[in-house]
């Protein structure tokens, strides 16, 4: 069966093959892990950017400037090929980081730079009276941040973070250049040997579309639960993060 000289049967046969599944799984692991550390880094650097001491502020600013200002692919190649060449011991564990670890590392640091700006905007969206009220009750800055400010910042932070997650799903394909066998690399190896470029790009794209679609649905659900105007609209329950941050904890 051919249409446009494309072998649709071949696509159907391989769409759910083991190697494809492994690639999808690797893409998901890469994205989820990098996103997690990206959020952690973003929060930490956002707090630095908002610090009063200018050297601390400068570190936050320099981080964003550098990692947002250079291409992600350059950063990936840098961490994996360039840095070990001039500084073999840079990875504290035996001087060698696996492609996966380096991939997560590169993606997380890059993502952290974007998350820094998102977190900063979120924290700044919270009325300054909130920090003062928290302090007047005897809370220290870290406690007030964690219990009072960050939970409120979430409302502003969640929508762009969802967008970042979806962008990261796609950008994770760039770590194929350091031979992490994620979805795109799987497809690339297959089209290189079979020369069925179109078929393999369709297979990869269908999976990327599936992942980003599911991601968007989850994003919409989270936004409806925690997004703007959600306080007091009966959002009950609450996961670990919500509980930890003291959001809507049932009294």
């Amino acid at each position: 069966m051919t249409f446009l000289a494309v072998d649709w049967g071949y696509i159907g046969e391989h769409l759910f093959s083991d190697i494809v599944f492994e690639g999808v799984w690797m893409t998901l692991r890469l994205t989820a892990t990098a996103m997690f550390f990206g959020v952690v880094l973003g929060t930490a650097f956002a707090l630095m950017r908002l610090a009063r001491a200018w050297p601390v502020k400068a570190v936050g600013l320099a981080y964003i400037w550098f990692f947002r200002g250079t291409p992600l692919i350059v950063q990936i190649v840098f961490w994996f090929f360039a840095l070990p060449q001039v500084w073999p011991e840079w990875a504290p564990w035996n001087g060698q980081m696996s492609p996966f670890t380096t991939g997560v590392f590169a993606l997380a640091i890059n993502e952290g730079a974007y998350m820094t700006e998102i977190m900063r905007a979120g924290i700044q969206s919270v009325d300054t009276g909130q920090m003062e009220a928290a302090k007047s009750l005897g809370m220290t800055y870290p406690k007030a941040m964690r219990r009072i400010i960050l939970p409120q910042a979430l409302r502003v932070v969640i929508p762009p973070t969802g967008n970042e997650f979806i962008a990261l799903l796609k950008n994770s394909s760039l770590v194929s250049v350091i031979s992490v066998s994620e979805l795109f690399l799987v497809a690339k190896l297959q089209y290189s040997s079979s020369l069925l470029y179109f078929e393999w790009l369709i297979i990869a794209s269908l999976w990327y579309l599936a992942l980003t679609t599911v991601g968007s649905i989850i994003q919409a659900w989270i936004e409806s639960r925690y997004g703007a105007g959600s306080y007091g609209s009966g959002a009950g329950g609450g996961g670990v993060a919500r509980r930890w941050l003291g959001m809507g904890v049932r009294d």
Binding site: D127, G129, Q130, E132, A133, A134, K135, S136, L137, G138, M139, T140, Y141, K143, R147, I148, P151, Q152, Y231, G232, G246, M247, G248, V249, D251
Partner: protein, 264 residues
């Protein structure tokens, strides 16, 4: 409660001594001295921009001071003395001192992501380390005291201004403070809601709470306060018992001020 008779204790609970505060070139507090005894209720009056809020914020160390000192129970607020110089205190001990003073803001500043009960329980659990059960018990009692027993599980957005401010007062009271600071607690309220908040403040005053209340409510100052402090341009222009202040103000500024506020 004879020993809480205002003015008769030995050391004041709060002692503000020659405090100066500048914002850039603008000197907002220009040598404020004001001892406050245990159980005393002080109403702070003054025109807009006279530095009333700034004074309260300095007492709570939400603002640093540029001169003088503030003592709470004989201990420096926000600073420690090193070789005769004041150095800012560590955050933890500033927080411990703030935990003993309650502050009520003009704009309530309730935590919108927590229910009324959650707002009142938060600091006892997070700051005093109380168990949730114990904190809940106190919080329910405190909210009942301000007349909000039926609003425990309601979020701030669904409360009226007067109710929100009463939650804010309960939130401060749940910490069992030794001193309560009110910064125009009723100024952001619709006229018909002012009364319910003032009633709570009067009750507190009657129960012997030490209070420092910046207010534009002359009725409250006249009836609930032991002393009126009139500020203008960063200086205490005049202070006297309310009967004396309202009956025979000594300074021209105070007379002008009273004429203006009683007109409206």
């Amino acid at each position: 409660m004879t020993d809480s008779q205002p003015g008769t204790g030995n050391a004041p609970l709060l002692d503000v001594i020659d405090v100066h505060k500048r914002f850039g070139k603008l000197e907002v507090l220009r040598g404020i001295t004001m001892p406050v005894a245990h159980g005393e209720v002080v109403a702070i009056l003054g025109p807009s921009g006279s530095g009333k809020s700034t004074l309260l914020r300095c007492i709570n160390h939400l603002e640093k001071i540029d001169g003088g000192r503030i003592l709470f129970e004989g201990k420096l607020v926000g600073y420690r003395e090193v070789d005769g110089k004041l150095k800012e205190e560590r955050e933890g001990s500033i927080a411990r001192m703030r935990a003993q003073m309650g502050m009520v803001f003009q704009r309530f500043n309730l935590f919108p992501h927590l229910t009324a009960l959650g707002n009142v329980m938060e600091a006892p659990v997070q700051v005093l380390g109380k168990s949730r059960d114990e904190a809940r018990e106190t919080a329910v009692a405190t909210l009942t005291r301000v007349g909000l027993a039926s609003k425990l599980h309601v979020y701030p957005a669904q409360l009226s201004g007067g109710q929100q401010q009463r939650v804010a007062i309960a939130r401060a009271l749940a910490m069992n403070p030794k001193l309560m600071l009110f910064d125009e607690a009723t100024s952001a309220l619709d006229p018909e809601l002012v009364g319910e908040v003032l009633a709570v403040m009067r009750d507190l005053a009657a129960e012997g709470m030490t209070m420092l209340a910046v207010t534009h409510e002359m009725g409250f100052a006249r009836e609930a306060a032991h002393r009126v402090v009139f500020m203008d341009e960063g200086v205490i222009q005049e202070e006297a018992p309310p009967a004396e202040f309202f009956g025979a103000p000594k300074t021209e500024r105070a007379r002008n001020f009273l004429r203006r506020v009683t007109q409206t």
